[in-house]
């Protein structure tokens, strides 16, 4: 027994040390290659530096958030290409270092640790999803990096009260549906809905939107006749939609992501119930997916919100669209808004550099806290904890096209109500 055990352990020690050696050499190898760049870029870079400006970001290329993650990656890389064509930032070529976090909170922490302390990147951008943004922003905060992030707007992100964080969308998630409430409540009293139903996906990016609208509606006297929160794994929304139909509300407010939005519409069509007003926080704002999933004849009259959308009035939008379609192919309508949001992160950097002549983290943080910054997703400004103070645009499917309808300064058509029946 004893000698067997001893032998076994010796093998173990050998194998362990082998593994450690392999690991250590792998690390040493990369460490030595990265020191060259870090030596040049560490400390406060002087404006005369010509070394590339390395920006690290971890996005989900595999796992639950892979689709959106890839869209974010496309946006970052497109911006880097564009800015480099213009000669870079302060004469420095931008180099994106994008790594995969496999949609895992553990990996995202490892990635930002590695980006900041191993590869010593100059700046970082955020990952996709609030769930990953929270642990990632903690790491960035620890090393005093500015954390410009395109896709982490959930309430708990701001509950951290970080002064280095900037959410690159017009409004925090909670308030992103406010524009709908604004519009409904701006209608003549007689036209306003009297009863409302709410169907909300239970996650940080969906239910809070509907809840916020509900609070506004109830305060204005619109009666809640049905409300249901459903878990993310609910594949079948027929049950909930049949209860919505039974409650027969004037307005259906849906806090949705994507698949559940399609599923809601399909169920309603099958149930032959068409409410007078219908708002979906997400999913319905997808120009290609939504009509293809629910049928082009079933989209008209449905409302949603957007920051960037095909035909967006933002000044930089046409150039962005041209660059995007040149690089990735496809049409304007194939562009995921997440790409535009990611692109906007870069636009902010350009402006900070142009304004201050510097591009270090402290400058970025202090500069962005003041003033208003035009981007693809609108003119952005932030409060002390990184919450944007603007609002989204209300968009509606009119004649099978997504059209901005409210507020007036972006509207290209008047809102259509009541919503036409299915198949119309």
């Amino acid at each position: 027994m004893s000698s067997g055990n001893r032998l076994r352990r010796r093998v173990l020690v050998a194998a362990t040390s082998a593994a450690v050696v392999i690991l250590a050499s792998a690390c040493a190898g990369t460490a030595s290659t990265s020191t060259s760049s870090s030596a040049a870029t560490s400390g406060t870079p002087s404006p005369t530096t010509t070394a590339p400006l390395v920006i690290g970001a971890s996005v989900s290329l595999t796992g639950d958030f892979a689709d959106s993650g890839k869209a974010v990656k496309a946006g970052y890389e497109l911006w880097a290409d564009e800015v480099n064509k213009k000669g870079g930032i302060l004469g420095r070529q931008v180099q994106m270092k994008i790594v995969d976090d496999t949609s895992s909170p553990t990996q995202v922490v490892t990635n930002y640790q590695n980006l900041i302390t191993q590869d010593k990147v100059d700046l970082v951008f955020g990952p996709f999803s609030s769930l990953l943004t929270i642990p990632a922003s903690q790491v960035a905060k620890r090393y005093s990096y500015a954390f410009i992030e395109p896709a982490g707007g959930g309430p708990k992100v701001f509950a951290q009260k970080l002064d280095n964080l900037f959410f690159v969308q017009p409004a925090p998630v909670v308030k992103s549906g406010d524009v709908y409430a604004d519009w409904i409540l701006s209608l003549p009293k007689a036209d306003q809905p009297k009863t409302a139903a709410y169907a909300e996906l239970d996650d940080p990016f969906s239910a809070p939107i509907a809840e916020n609208i509900r609070a506004r509606f109830e305060a204005a006297g619109i009666q809640t006749v049905y409300k249901q929160v459903y878990p993310a794994e609910t594949r079948d929304l027929t049950a909930i939609m049949s209860k919505v139909a039974a409650a027969n509300p004037d307005v259906l407010v849906s806090g949705t992501q994507s698949e559940d939005a399609y599923s809601q519409v399909k169920s309603l069509v099958q149930l032959k119930f068409s409410p007078k007003f219908m708002f979906m926080s997400n999913g319905a704002n997808s120009p290609v997916e939504f009509p293809s999933k629910v049928g082009v004849n079933n989209v008209n009259g449905i409302m949603s919100t957007a920051d960037w959308y095909p035909g967006s009035p933002a000044e930089s939008s046409p150039a962005f669209v041209a660059a995007y379609t040149a690089k990735y192919g496809g049409a304007e309508t194939d562009i995921d808004p997440s790409s535009a949001e990611a692109f906007s992160c870069g636009q902010l950097l350009e402006q900070v550099a142009a304004k201050t002549g510097k591009i270090d983290n402290a400058t970025i943080i202090s500069t962005l806290h003041q003033g208003t910054w035009p981007t693809l997703v609108g003119n952005l400004s932030w409060d002390a904890i990184g919450q944007p103070t603007g609002s989204f645009s209300l968009i509606q499917w009119i004649n099978q096209k997504l059209t901005p309808v409210f507020p007036a300064d972006v509207a290209k058509a008047a809102p259509v109500y009541p919503k036409p029946n299915w198949g119309g």
Binding site: M1, G4, A19, V109, T110, A159
Partner: protein, 348 residues
């Protein structure tokens, strides 16, 4: 034969204790924290899945339990020194063990495959509860914790030492059980539970004991993890992939061995995290991962340690057979899981 084993353990302990003092970079410490976490959890899983032969797929339920316990503790207490969560860690372990005992008692009425499924069901129940009891857990909004107030230079140290402490505790408990009747009883349960029952082994008792201790250890690791991440979310804290990670590492290193799970963790965690960091962009990541996994399972179904030990033993047996002489000097056993035919020591 006890002294060298303890000496080896001592050397390892001292080495790991001293590691942060070498001035390692933050990212190395970060990787070590996750490696130690999985080493500790695999070692703990091994008590049930390896020694008792009950492949629990529900251990992440207790990981989540620990994570939420620490998260909820912060809802009612302010951070002063930042070390409070570590102080209450033993309490977390104890509570999880107490909760785990009746669950183990019920779940372990079933065997092997059904047990695996019942435990994974347990995991989904726990996840559903975390989502639905939103008044308590914050539900789908998640639960954020305050930033740990440690100075930047040594930020990772408390987490590193906490994980190390759990690992050492788990290995010490494993070692003690291997050396005592607990280990003997678990060996009989794994080999033939009905027979073990018939010779008066306290089958249910040792099974529940190992389950309870095991999940207690995993819960403590979950608590430290939550504090390090500063955010818990039902899907992340009760993640089947966390259990799968433990299982894989134990199978890779060698089931029912003291060092196997640690070896598995040392190979897989840095491998996985580093590969994802370095080549994660490649779509083939998952395929490569699965392929490696399959190869190991097919070539070394018993795990690295037992397979390698066996090969060496065989080579050695051949080398020394000339002076071995009488059949009684047949090679000594390699512990659990040996299937190498050894010449029988004669018949009566």
């Amino acid at each position: 034969m006890n002294v060298p084993a303890l000496a080896r353990g001592g050397v390892l302990t001292v080495a790991l204790l001293a590691l942060p003092l070498l001035g390692l970079e933050h990212w190395v410490l970060n990787l070590l924290i996750f490696t130690l976490m999985y080493a500790a959890m695999s070692s703990a899983w091994n008590l049930v899945g390896g020694f008792a032969g009950y492949p629990s797929l529900g251990h992440a339920a207790f990981f989540g339990f620990g994570a939420y316990f620490i998260g909820l503790w912060f809802q009612h207490h302010d951070v002063v020194s930042g070390y409070e969560p570590f102080v209450i860690l033993p309490l977390v372990g104890l509570l999880a063990a107490l909760v785990g005992a009746p669950i183990g008692w019920i779940a372990m009425r079933t065997r092997a495959d059904v047990f695996a499924i019942v435990t994974i069901t347990l995991l989904f129940v726990a996840q559903t509860l975390a989502f639905n009891l939103d008044d308590l857990t914050g539900g789908a909004q998640g639960l954020a914790m305050p930033t740990p107030p440690f100075e930047l230079a040594r930020f990772e140290w408390p987490f590193y030492y906490a994980m190390l402490w759990i690992l050492l505790l788990s290995m010490a408990l494993t070692y003690l059980s291997m050396r005592s009747k607990v280990g003997l009883s678990l060996d009989t349960v794994r080999a033939d539970e009905d027979k073990a029952l018939g010779i008066g082994i306290h089958v249910q008792g040792v099974k529940v004991l190992s389950f309870s201790v095991s999940v207690g250890l995993v819960a403590m690791a979950g608590g430290v993890w939550a504090y390090y991440e500063t955010f818990v979310y039902p899907q992340f804290a009760f993640d089947p992939l966390i259990t799968i990670g433990m299982v894989l590492m134990v199978f890779l290193g060698g089931r029912a061995t003291l060092w196997g799970p640690i070896l598995g963790a040392v190979i897989l965690v840095p491998g996985q995290q580093y590969l994802a960091y370095k080549l994660g962009g490649s779509q083939l990541y998952l395929i490569a991962y699965a392929a490696v996994f399959l190869l190991i399972m097919l070539l070394m179904p018993r795990g690295i340690l037992p397979t390698v030990a066996d090969r060496l033993r065989r080579r050695r047996a051949v080398g020394t057979s000339s002076d071995a002489g009488p059949p009684t000097a047949a090679p000594p056993s390699a512990g659990a899981g040996s299937s190498v035919p050894v010449p029988s020591g004669g018949t009566a």
